[in-house]
């Protein structure tokens, strides 16, 4: 089968169609907006996807449904926007016209001070409003985890978020009222062609399909596969690395499929954290908190489970949790697929079990058996939108005699890879589920890990807290006394 090639990308930018045939593989959406299009309402605060001043909405189609999500324009590559609708703050109110309800609410509640973060907050709140017109304070906070404000202390912004639904009518919002027309326009942009732009090492590609991706990558194994760009984006903006040729994945619907059967769930490698959340929270309630603490909302909208794994970071959020669940990775090279247990995918720091030309196609997560206990704890300096100092995942079966029959423990932040605690597991298996056993297993953790000291935590703290998390896991199986902070809803 010959693949047809298009040599431009096409997307809607606010109310207009944009077609670009000369665009760099590392062109960020933020620079494109500000420098090429002179749309300067969207601000640069950090250029690393942490502050949210550059938040815009990106509408993507999946199975005929169009969903708008907040993303960080600073680390989103323009090349990945083919077939999308980009909505920026500049389009919300016409000059001299009435403010958008989100904007009006922000003004009415005195929610801006210096104003620099404000466009980003407006866009995050707009994205929230479209999905959830009457959010709780907790839901508002979740939607704003990726937006930093240094002036207001957030109280007024929360008041604004609560006021939006009072002053606005969602049905009259243009993106809601004209949804069918926009879908039509976006559908018209989908031609099933491969997109290829630029020359040689400067070029980037959008494969026409997963099969096409497999062909491209097998032929060009040095290409850089980019899914959510929540990490690779920083290679460009922070380290000024040349990453071309780039192969984008985020447009591939096939990689965004989720299939569940009786034994578990398979997530396509391109499924974002946000897209996976409904099924994760239904089948793995123990993962809700972890999922909600991955990056900010923008990062969860862009970032993928597949990327989190393929990236191989020792402090990635999902690997310890998924290793403890016995997850496996489906790898593909050309037409050949193979499945490896996730824990053996990580070989050492910076090295994974992935052949040249082979890519992560899917992640399979088995359900937790009814008699098993499972928990994940993430320790950070700041509760939300922070990278783990330590992340501990515990999966254990206690048999009818009160003895531990199965134990899988994995930690992130404790070694060069997400790694199982072999000594601690050995100390548990076959022993009674008792305080004394836990003490022994805690000691054994000292043999499992020699953590590093860095800006996130000292080695001493990492080991101490890793041990205490095991104790917490034990204590949560004993009695009713709370052993974790009750994350209260704010009032």
């Amino acid at each position: 089968m010959t693949v047809q090639i298009r040599s431009s990308i096409r997307f809607l930018l606010n109310h207009r169609l944009v077609e670009l045939s000369a665009v760099s593989a590392v062109q960020t959406l933020l620079d494109f907006l500000r420098l090429d299009r002179n749309l300067r309402g969207t601000k640069e605060g950090c250029a690393e996807g942490d502050c949210g001043a550059c938040t815009v909405l990106v509408g993507r189609l999946l199975d005929g449904r169009l969903k708008y999500e907040s993303v960080n324009a600073c680390i989103r590559f323009v090349g990945s926007l083919d077939g999308c609708h980009v909505v920026t703050v500049d389009s919300l109110a016409s000059p001299g016209g009435p403010l958008h309800p989100v904007q009006q609410a922000m003004v009415d509640t005195h929610a801006s001070q210096c104003g620099f973060c404000t466009p980003g907050f407006v866009m995050s709140l707009y994205g929230l409003w479209m999905e959830n017109p009457k959010p709780s304070v907790t839901e508002i906070e979740k939607a704003l985890q990726g937006n930093l404000c240094r002036c207001t202390g957030y109280a007024a912004i929360i008041r604004a978020a609560e006021a939006v639904s009072v002053i606005g009518d969602l049905d009259r919002d243009p993106l809601v009222a004209e949804r069918a027309k926009i879908i039509q326009k976006l559908e018209a942009l989908k031609d099933g062609k491969r997109v290829e732009i630029g020359e040689g090492s400067e070029r980037f590609l959008l494969p026409a399909s997963v099969d096409d991706l497999a062909d491209i990558y097998e032929a060009e194994p040095n290409a850089r596969i980019v899914a959510g760009s929540t990490d690779v984006g920083l290679w460009v903006t922070k380290f000024m690395r040349d990453i071309a040729p780039v192969v984008h994945l985020s447009h591939l619907d096939e990689l965004r499929r989720i299939t569940a059967d009786e034994t578990g769930i398979t997530f396509g490698a391109g499924v974002s954290y946000t897209e996976s959340f409904p099924l994760i929270s239904k089948h793995f309630p123990q993962l809700i908190e972890l999922w909600n603490r991955i990056g900010g909302q923008q990062v969860r909208n862009m970032g993928t489970i597949g990327g989190n794994i393929a990236n191989g970071s020792p402090i990635g959020d999902t690997p310890p949790a998924l290793i403890a669940l016995g997850a496996s990775v489906v790898l593909r090279k050309g037409k050949v697929q193979r499945t490896v247990p996730l824990e053996s995918f990580f070989i050492e720091y910076g090295k994974q079990d992935r052949q040249p030309g082979e890519f992560v196609e899917a992640v399979r997560i088995p359900f937790v058996s009814e008699n098993a206990r499972y928990a994940v704890y993430k320790i950070t300096k700041r509760l939300d939108e922070d990278i783990s100092a330590v992340c501990g995942a515990f999966h254990l079966v206690v048999d009818g005699n009160g003895k531990v029959s199965e134990a899988v423990i994995a930690y992130g932040g404790m070694a060069g890879t997400p790694k199982r605690a072999a000594n601690a597991e050995a100390a548990l298996i076959g022993a009674g589920w008792t305080e004394a056993t836990i003490e022994t297993a805690m000691e054994a953790l000292g043999k499992d890990y020699t953590p590093l000291t860095d800006w996130r935590a000292s080695a001493d703290y990492r080991l101490l807290v890793a041990k205490n998390l095991l104790r917490r896991f034990y204590l949560e199986t004993q009695g009713d006394e709370p052993v974790r902070l009750d994350r209260k809803q704010a009032v």
Partner: protein
């Protein structure tokens, strides 16, 4: 003649909850920051090349790869500076624009690349090859002292009473020490300057600076031209917090140098990492203290040394460390006292102003002493606080010999204690901790007293320029800068009130050295106090002329001319404001005035450590309750109640915003915001991915913020209001103390917990472990 019916009041006068004058522009993205200004064609971009060593001699620099990079126009080094290679605000000549010969901190600017695009300049700057010879470096303040590093500026000593006699009399003496971390400003808009060359020696800059006049002076100094050739414009900043009081000067100087050299508009904007690496922060402190007290907890004597990590140059470290001493007493009378500062040089970026300006560190030190006394005596720290408040016969003199005349802390504490139900909740917390093994709670109620005025007396002056145009519209300009605090809104409210016209008649225009000269930094919380008064003065001058004109023209006595809402009443007649202005214009009345204000009563003799540095004090208090997980050190701020004094508020809505914002920012400083240098002297927390300021989900779960509505400034400030920028920053000391109390519970509150700041989960857990061991052993 249009005869008007009188209306009640103008829209947007003083004491009203007026919206931020730029609010509608913030939310639409149309508020213009410097990076949003359309660039003239041919605009070039500058990017700094920074030192990769903490302390080293520069042996050679090879720019070949830089200059041959695509889009590069040229490179600027110290050799390109026609004037002085110095931007020291302390005039110590220790703050080079570009390092020469040696570098003194990792991140110090050495050169700048000028290129066609910012991206090209940035990429090219990274291609430089510099040969260094490393020299020993010191980043830590105590190590600096041990290595006999010099002081960056003369220290200060405050002394009163007889310290030896005080300690001799004290039944109990405690010694202790505490480390207090610094803080990055993390303004959302990073540093930026945009320079446009003019004729002859002239140059115009758009600079994100809190101190346009100093930026003007520094640009002139670097270019070797007089101040009259340099114009600085600042419409607004995307946050500043002190980080743009002096730190903008270097960027402005580089943009100006390049603009003059290449005869092009030049913009410079560092990436966030470089901004955080190359610009100063809040000073980290080490406090060593000795406190003598009686068995009730009444303090007899205090002796303390405040050592500060100042970085490689003086910058503002002198006044910052001074202010630490000025606030080490907080609300407490020390009968015998000696406070000394030690502004130490280190091989780190030169630390600078940050909201509170050393005051917070001094106050944290003072409150730590109170906490120590309380734990030593097994008492509620609040009881110790009340016992030591200023007030009563002979108990009103500060360590700097200023008498506290406006003390309202007693009433504030009493009201807050009642409204937040402190006593019952503390009892509840104690009961909870007896039952709960893993989760512990803590509660604390702490006061704030903050001195208002620049301690550098000459800074306590301001100017304003008011024009009334013939159509009755009003143009307002003043020397203060808008960084989000709402200064433009407040000053416009003052002018609206003076003229008794609706606020929308007044346009506030960008701060510029060309309209109001010799201005002070918008800092020290003084923006509204100074500029509000100067603007009122300008309006009053115009009004006086108008009154005299009306009296003469209508043949009435001057006292029969009044400015009523949007109207002038002349005898029995009422004329619309704009109609009256047209008549005044026609009669050739001068409708423009330059206003001026200088703060009265203040004086300060630094060498003697005596005077009245502060015009008045602002007060406040907060009660914080937290939960702490003793397995991990994680915590949550469950509830905060604040009662804060802003005098008679110019704008309660904006003031509440300042209090809430300051609280959360101060809480970040004391909890999750940690600056971390590695062994090579590199700051490794230089971006939001590694440096964690509070998020929406970190703000207190219950957050009750109230202004003390009854408070009226006893001094004649603008409409009897009080400054609000800095004082509430210290309210969250109660968060640190509440966390400490929760930790102390593991040792039955018998041992002072002494958690250093910031109280990261790591520090909290390690303190808990230490307390557990101490309790077991002792």
């Amino acid at each position: 003649m249009n005869v008007m019916q009188p209306i009640d009041r103008i829209r947007g006068g003083v004491h009203e909850n007026e919206r931020h004058e730029s609010g509608h522009k913030h939310v639409t993205g149309t508020a213009e920051y410097i990076d949003d200004i359309p660039e003239p064609s041919g605009t070039l971009h500058a990017y700094l090349g920074l030192s990769q060593r903490a302390h080293a001699q520069i042996l050679s620099i090879d720019f070949d790869a830089v200059t041959s990079a695509p889009g590069v126009i040229g490179v600027l080094t110290a050799a390109d500076i026609p004037g002085e290679n110095d931007v020291s605000p302390a005039h110590k000549h220790d703050d080079p624009v570009f390092a020469t010969g040696k570098v003194e901190f990792h991140g110090q600017p050495i050169f700048a690349v000028i290129a066609e695009t910012r991206d090209a300049a940035r990429r090219a700057a990274a291609r430089v090859k510099i040969e260094y010879r490393d020299l020993p470096h010191v980043t830590d303040v105590l190590e600096a002292a041990a290595a006999n590093y010099p002081l960056v500026i003369d220290p200060l000593k405050l002394e009163r009473g007889d310290i030896a006699a005080g300690f001799a009399k004290a039944k109990n003496i405690l010694e202790g020490e505490m480390r207090i971390g610094g803080q990055d400003h993390f303004y959302l808009e990073g540093h930026i300057s945009f320079a446009i060359p003019g004729e002859d020696d002239e140059i115009t800059l758009y600079s994100s600076t809190q101190h346009p006049s100093e930026t003007q002076h520094m640009v002139g100094q670097v270019l070797g031209v007089a101040s009259n050739a340099v114009t600085i414009n600042v419409r607004r900043m995307g946050g500043a917090f002190g980080g743009k009081e002096t730190q903008a000067n270097l960027f402005a100087a580089v943009a100006a140098l390049a603009a003059k050299k290449y005869h092009c508009a030049v913009k410079i904007r560092p990436d966030r990492d470089d901004d955080m690496t190359a610009t100063g922060k809040r000073h980290d402190f080490h406090v060593g203290y000795k406190v003598g007290f009686d068995d009730d907890g009444r303090i007899e004597a205090v002796d303390a040394i405040f050592s500060a990590r100042c970085g490689f140059s003086a910058d503002l470290s002198g006044p910052v460390t001074d202010r630490a001493l000025f606030h080490a007493d907080n609300c407490y009378f020390y009968p015998h006292v000696r406070l000394r500062s030690r502004p130490l040089k280190t091989n780190t970026v030169s630390n600078t102003a940050f909201r509170g300006f050393g005051g917070p560190q001094g106050m944290v030190g003072g409150e730590r002493m109170i906490e120590d006394v309380a734990y030593a005596l097994g008492k509620d720290p609040l009881d110790i606080r009340k016992l030591n408040f200023y007030g009563g016969e002979g108990r009103n003199l500060t360590p700097y010999h200023q008498t506290v005349e406006d003390n309202i802390i007693g009433r504030i504490i009493e009201e807050l204690e009642t409204s937040c139900d402190y006593a019952a909740r503390r009892a509840e917390v104690l009961a909870f901790n007896r039952k709960s093994q893993i989760i512990k709670r803590g509660i604390a109620l702490t006061p704030v007293k903050f001195g208002i005025s620049f301690t550098k007396t000459e800074y306590n002056q301001a100017g304003a320029l008011v024009h009334v145009y013939a159509d009755g519209s009003i143009h307002l300009n003043h020397g203060g800068t808008e960084m989000g605090q709402g200064l433009y809104t407040k000053v416009a409210q003052v002018v609206a009130d003076e003229f008794q016209v609706d606020l929308n008649r007044i346009k506030v225009t960008a701060t510029t050295t060309g309209k109001v000269p010799n201005t002070s930094a918008t800092a020290a919380s003084s923006g509204s106090d100074l500029n509000g008064m100067a603007a009122a003065n300008a309006a009053q001058q115009i009004k006086a002329r108008l009154v005299a004109f009306a009296a003469e023209r209508w043949g009435v006595s001057e006292k029969d001319v009044a400015f009523e809402p949007n109207t002038i009443r002349i005898g029995a007649e009422r004329i619309a404001f704009s109609d009256f202005i047209r008549i005044a214009y026609g009669s050739r009345i001068q409708l423009s005035a330059a206003g001026f204000y200088k703060t009265p009563k203040i004086h300060w003799n630094r060498s003697e450590g005596r005077g009245r540095p502060f015009f008045y004090y602002a007060y406040g208090a907060s009660c914080s309750e937290v939960s702490v997980d003793t397995l991990t050190g994680e915590y949550q701020v469950d509830r905060v109640d604040v009662l804060h004094d802003v005098g008679k508020s110019l704008n309660p809505a904006l003031d509440i915003g300042q209090v809430e914002g300051a609280f959360v920012q101060g809480m970040g400083w004391l909890t999750t915001e940690e600056l971390w240098w590695d062994a090579k002297g590199r700051l490794r927390t230089h971006a939001p991915s590694t440096y964690k300021i509070p998020l929406a989900s970190d703000r207190p779960r219950i957050f009750n913020v109230k202004l003390a509505e009854w408070s009226v400034n006893r001094e004649e400030t603008i409409r009897r209001s009080k400054a609000v920028g800095e004082p509430p920053f210290m309210l969250p000391i109660s968060v640190l103390e509440a966390i400490s109390m929760a930790a102390a519970s593991v040792a039955a509150y018998r041992i002072a917990p002494r958690i250093d700041a910031p109280a990261t989960p790591e520090r909290v857990l390690l303190a808990i472990e230490r307390l557990r061991r101490a309790a077991k052993n002792g």
